[in-house]
């Protein structure tokens, strides 16, 4: 990081503790305040230490905020794989005793995916009028780079996913090669990047929009409903797996996975409802 022209490099170096986005937003005025505090003097060890601590806390805060990006990067690929596998799942022949479980799991996958997709679409539609105004007011350059990267990642992930679908359709489970396994890993990574970039783009765009409290409250709850539905899709995927592959590993995966997904969905929903209610009833402009 180089010091801006005319700025003391020793002071500018204090900013390195902070995340880049924070430096871009607050860096200049923060340094102006540090200069005022020092009144021409050199930064003391105590000041350096307190600024370093504050910068690291800011990074920690950013990581917590990025938790949404991480969880969508994990959920997205799993759900995408479940649906990429759907044609093959329809052709699978479970033992007659477990046929009800397989059929029920596939129905649940479709139903909850529709619910989740609907909730996320509804949250996007809530912001659509404000987003339209933002674009008409010349906001596109502010989000262009993020949207571009997310679109590139989506094209790459979509191509890789199409390849896995074609490969699955062409071969049986018994003849899956090492190349196929590598392809699945690469596709999973590309999907994780694509979902992560879109989540980050959505969060960053929402910040530019200045949405009202009530729209933000409704969006929080709708996105959490969408996430809970996708956790249910993942649970249904585990049930389907246990139905078509009788055996201890699939059963154990089912027993461990379903409570874990249910816990994540419940915690997520409760937190969103709590935050949504607080936002909804907060004082000031609705």
């Amino acid at each position: 990081m180089t010091a801006p022209e005319g700025r003391d490099p020793a002071l500018s170096r204090l900013l390195r503790w902070y995340p880049r986005a924070w430096r871009e937003r607050y860096g200049d005025e923060f340094l102006a305040t540090v200069e005022d505090v020092l009144n021409g003097g050199a930064p003391t060890a105590r000041l350096r230490l307190s600024v370093a601590w504050a910068g690291l806390r800011e990074r920690g805060h950013q990581v917590r905020r990025e938790a949404d990006v991480t969880t969508w990067s994990l959920k997205g690929p799993i759900v995408a794989f479940i649906f990429a596998d759907f044609p093959l799942s329809l052709r699978a022949s479970p033992p007659p005793a477990r046929e009800w479980l397989a059929t029920g799991a596939l129905d649940a996958e479709l139903g909850f995916a529709a619910l989740g997709g609907g909730a996320i679409l509804a949250s996007a539609l809530l912001a659509a009028p404000v987003f339209g105004r933002f674009l008409r007011a010349g906001g596109w350059p502010r989000i262009r780079r993020r949207v571009g990267w997310a679109a590139v990642a989506t094209v790459a992930a979509g191509g890789a996913l199409a390849w896995t679908v074609l490969a699955s359709a062409a071969e049986t489970f018994d003849r899956l090669s090492g190349d196929y396994a590598l392809g699945i890993v690469v596709t999973g990574l590309l999907l994780a990047v694509a979902f992560g970039l879109w989540t980050r783009t959505a969060i960053s765009t929402a910040r530019h929009l200045g949405l009202s409290r009530r729209i933000r409250a409704a969006e929080k709850v709708l996105v959490a409903v969408g996430a809970a539905a996708l956790y249910t899709v993942m649970s249904a995927g585990l049930c389907f797996n246990a139905a078509i592959q009788p055996g201890v590993p699939a059963l154990l995966l089912c027993i461990a996975g379903i409570p874990a997904f249910a816990f994540c969905a419940t915690v997520n929903l409760r937190r969103a409802v709590r935050k949504g209610r607080r936002l909804w009833s907060a004082p000031g402009r609705a």
Binding site: Y26, F30, L31, T33, V51, E58, A282, P283, G284
Partner: protein
Amino acid sequence: MAARRPAGGLRRANDPPLLILISLAEGPKHGHALAKDIEDFAKVKLGPGALYGAITRLEERRLIEPMDSDDRRRPYRITAAGSAALAGALADLRRITSTGLARLRPQGDLA
């Protein structure tokens, strides 16, 4: 059971966000002016790191907003939501303070 979060997420009387809101209730100020004012009225010395950490959180929660400025020293002002959150937090503090004072009084009378 978790305690109810006070109005606007403000916690203690010497919480930097609360002190900043009290300072901005008087009128817009930039970073250094805020730090000096807070030191004057609360005897709390906020370093630039703590000050800007609190400013960041308050701006995220839309309790304060930056004003246009040609200078590097960007002033901030309290928003309507910030004023309401401050009023709520101060009412909470007043209730706690008056309860504490009322409970101290009998001991003072005994002495």
